[in-house]
Amino acid sequence: MELTNEDAAELGRRLAAGELSSVELTRAHLDRIAARDDVLGAFLHVDAEAALARAAEVDAARAAGEELGPLAGLPVALKDVVVTEGVPTTSGSRILEGWRPPYDATVAARLKDAGTVLLGKTNMDEFAMGSSTENSAYRTARNPWDPDRVPGGSSGGSSAAVAGGLAPWALGTDTGGSIRQPAAVTGLVGHKPTYGSVSRYGLIAFSSSLDQAGPMARTVLDAAVLHEAIGGHDRRDSTSIDAPVPPLAQAATEGARGELSGLRVGIVRELGGAGHTDGYEDGVLARVREAVALLEGMGAEVREVSCPSFDLALAAYYLIAPSEASSNLARFDGVRHGLRVGDDGSRDLDTVMSLTREEGFGPEVKRRIILGTYALSAGYYEAYYGQAQKVRTLIGRDFSAAFADVDVLVSPTSPTVAWPIGARVDDPLAMYAADLCTLPASLAGLPAISVPCGLSEGLPVGFQVMAPALADDRCYRVAAAVEAALDAARGHRLLDELAQRAPSGAPA
């Protein structure tokens, strides 16, 4: 198998064993980026020279006999929402074009300290607002399974990069589904950690009470390893939970054994169940049913649970997230960093700020700023933001009630497979519907993973596993069981089918 299709775990083993150098591995990915990224649009910034220099450093350290961690020498890609010292960081927006941050996000620093090699910064919907990466101010990212289709979003650059063999794994961020949905539609594993369990310091904020960084990888084990590397308390983030990260890789390894007896699994009726199938594709629901049957086959007890407030999740989310965003994005005023428009000495401050924001923000960002500004306005606050917070509480209660009876909840990750580029750009509500299944866990701050569960119409389908707060290990355990069972039945990984289908260098 080509280096660029291998699991990170296998690559790490070879690096540690001296069978492979980091420079060799990094070069393979840079070559792949050079060959494929024109089509895939996965990256916004690649610095090949810096990556190779860093790889050479790690190789030298290894040659000198230094004690290195398991991630040392492994390339990684970071969503461009992650602030990286000295490396351009735009959050997919023109308003930050050219900004080189003077500091590292905690997750970036932790990966640096672990000895990883930064390949580059991945494309994304502007300020993480979107489900297709078509809202990127720079370029459209494409789905390696079908370059005429979206790679999901907002972490679509990360999903395209990892699925397309441009990076072994990547970080994404998830506010309402932005890790899980792109992972689902590209055949990857993506996990949104418990809110507060991974530091937000240095993530350019979209919606502060929802944003979480998490791993996107080719296997459940890889995702668990990457998650362990970035997780844990950070004193720079006040909302960071001071609790140890549960043993995630161990949970993945154990889950892969396929022994789930005693595990209680709840199928959420409101997410694609009876009476709630509007907008869900039959093929998606069929794959999810098969995955549930697999879990039963491994000894899990499956039952249907009802979480009635989930029907309100979309409405609540599209009040809370834009409200916070309207405030978070206020700092982009042209005064201190990034773009400044119209400051020719003839215009006053307000005009320059307005022109900067007019030119610097794209239409979806403006739509959400306006929505959020309205929702927080005097006289409307209670009716909109206040009500949405109450719905959020109710969703949390539905989860608590459900978790009194079951250990995990499952659903499709997204109601559909990847859709054609352009199909939803003029219909924001259709675009928002892609996050229907991922929003409840986001609003409740709970961990949720998406694991591939097969193809529908030749395109990947994601299976979502949700767990109580800080029980991220349950997500990994169940996802690993599904992955192992499907891989065994298929005789190969799902992504291997992509490698056969799309010869490197040419779009399918």
């Binding site: 003077p102 006040s238 700092r331 000495g345 606050y381």
Partner: protein, 503 residues
């Protein structure tokens, strides 16, 4: 009777205002805490540093940065609340106050809105022996803004400036806002009550050690609300909020000016515009700022980047128990210790001399002497020089030394005043000045004997009068001797020596 200012603003005589209107005042006071680091990051808070040298990604609001609360600032706020008799909220939150201005780096100020740390307190202030209770509505914690510097204009104002610079050193310094409830019933004393409130508050903050409270450095900044209602009216009038009131004297002047201005507006049948006004230190006048009626909608909402502050009861109880002696209690204690009447103590307070007298007593002077010097000779000198008592270049220790020299008979009062001249002129401590200027009272030295005998010999007519029974005439001889010795002789001694020789 009305007058006009140079800007054409019509003003009613202060005394006349009160014949028709009743003032209601209110104060919002911002206090920069003296914590070593900023509110939400580890940057230093030193005043006067090079612009933008005390900044980091957090206080510059760089994308991705997050705030972490300064525990010392929260503790200081709770202590202020306790000193003001407030209820300390068991659960409190920060909120974002959203508005665009270059001096707020995030596009919002992290403040508190409907869930402040401290509520419902009070502060009693005294004016002319009358006590006024000022109700405190809330005490909350927020972050200070940066400072805009307008370049190219005439007065550092934005009008006429070619460009503006921003210094973010101040951005993020912990700022406590103390808001009173409206204060009615102060009548003619409204300006003095406002000033006394800020003075008392300043003294409390000093006693707590939470801020340097230097008004000239902006540690303590006041917004003064003033409204007038016709006497007997059940409703209060529309208020103005005067900003930029940055000295105790200005607090008083701002209220006085607004009362006179608003009375003129109301007398003319007009309506007071509810607005923000700016106080001008040089002219003592106010001018309109932005109108509150078209005020910004700040779109407050709970700050999602910070967890709620939940001070637990044992901690708050400990802080309450450890509060230092507050100014009012201290004044009561000192009055008792010094054996003064309430009125005598009030004079000391009004002169701003409590600390000076206390320190002078601590340095060895009797309370009576300390009070006499600070409220007498020294007050006169401060007044002549146009400075505060504490600004005189003489220390309480030096004053105590001076009273000691008088008590020991080394100098008399008149010589002591000359010694004080020397101290104020920077010639050293009183004893040094007495030595250097030769101010010590003369003993029965040869020089004094000679002066006494010369006086007797030079005025035989006076001597005859005295001997003839008019003893009072001896005074002229005493004066003669004092003059001859340039005041250095001790008058009773001179009198005794004259009596010995003449009678």
């Amino acid at each position: 009777m009305t007058a006009s200012t140079h800007t054409g603003e019509r003003l009613v005589d202060f005394g006349e205002v009160l014949t028709r209107y009743e003032p209601v005042i209110g104060l919002e006071t911002h206090v920069e805490l003296g914590t070593a680091s900023k509110m939400f990051c580890g940057c230093a808070t030193t005043f006067g540093a090079e612009p933008n040298t005390q900044t980091c990604p957090v206080c510059l609001g760089l994308p991705g940065s997050l705030p972490v609360s300064n525990a010392a600032a929260i503790e200081a706020t709770i202590r202020i609340g306790l000193a003001l008799g407030c209820r300390i909220a068991p659960w409190s939150r920060f909120a974002r106050k959203n508005y665009f201005y270059p001096d707020i780096p995030k596009g919002y100020q992290t403040s508190q809105y409907d869930e402040p740390l401290c509520t419902a307190g009070h502060l009693d202030v005294e004016v002319d022996g009358e006590t006024y209770r000022v109700e405190i509505e809330r005490v909350h914690l927020e972050e200070d803004t940066g400072k805009n510097l307008h370049v190219g204009g005439a007065t550092g104002r934005i009008h006429g400036a070619s460009h503006s610079l921003v210094d973010y050193n101040r951005a993020g310094i912990p700022l406590v806002e103390i808001v009173t409830r409206p204060i009615p019933g102060t009548g003619a004393r409204a300006p003095e009550v406002a000033r006394a409130y800020v003075t008392e508050l300043r003294d409390i903050l000093l006693a707590l050690g939470v801020s340097e409270v230097r008004m000239e450095q902006g540690n303590l900044r006041c917004d003064v609300n003033t409204s007038l209602a016709p006497i007997g009216s059940l409703e209060w009038g529309l208020r103005t909020e005067t900003k930029n009131v940055n000295s105790l004297r200005s607090v008083e002047r701002a209220v006085r000016y607004e009362m006179r201005r608003q009375a003129a507006v109301l007398d003319a049948g007009g309506r007071v515009v509810q607005e923000t006004r700016h106080f001008h230190e040089d002219t003592g006048t106010t001018s309109p700022g932005r109108s509150k009626e078209e005020a910004t909608d700040y779109r407050y909402f709970p700050e999602p980047d910070l967890v709620p502050v939940a001070p637990d009861a044992p901690w708050v109880e400990r802080l309450a128990a450890e509060l230092p002696e507050l100014p009012a209690a201290r004044r009561a204690r000192l009055r008792e210790e010094w054996g003064l009447s309430a009125t005598e103590m009030a004079w000391i307070v009004n002169a701003g001399a409590v600390d000076l007298v206390a320190d002078t007593v601590a340095a060895g002077a009797t309370p009576a002497d300390a009070r006499k010097w600070w409220l007498g000779e020294l007050a006169r000198r401060a007044n002549d020089a146009g400075v505060e008592l504490a600004q005189l270049p003489v220390t309480p220790r030096q004053v105590a030394e001076l009273t000691g020299l008088v008590a020991a008979g080394t100098v008399n009062d008149q010589l002591a005043r000359q010694a004080l001249d020397g101290v104020l002129a920077g010639e050293g401590d009183p004893a040094q000045v007495v030595e250097a200027r030769g101010l010590a009272v003369m003993g029965e030295s040869d020089e004094l004997v000679a002066a006494v005998e010369a006086a007797i010999a030079g005025a035989p007519d006076v001597v005859a009068k005295v001997r003839g029974g008019k003893v009072a005439a001896l005074g002229a001889l005493v004066g003669q001797v004092m003059k001859a010795t340039r005041g250095k002789a001790d008058a009773p001694t001179v009198r005794r020596m004259l009596e010995e020789r003449v009678l």
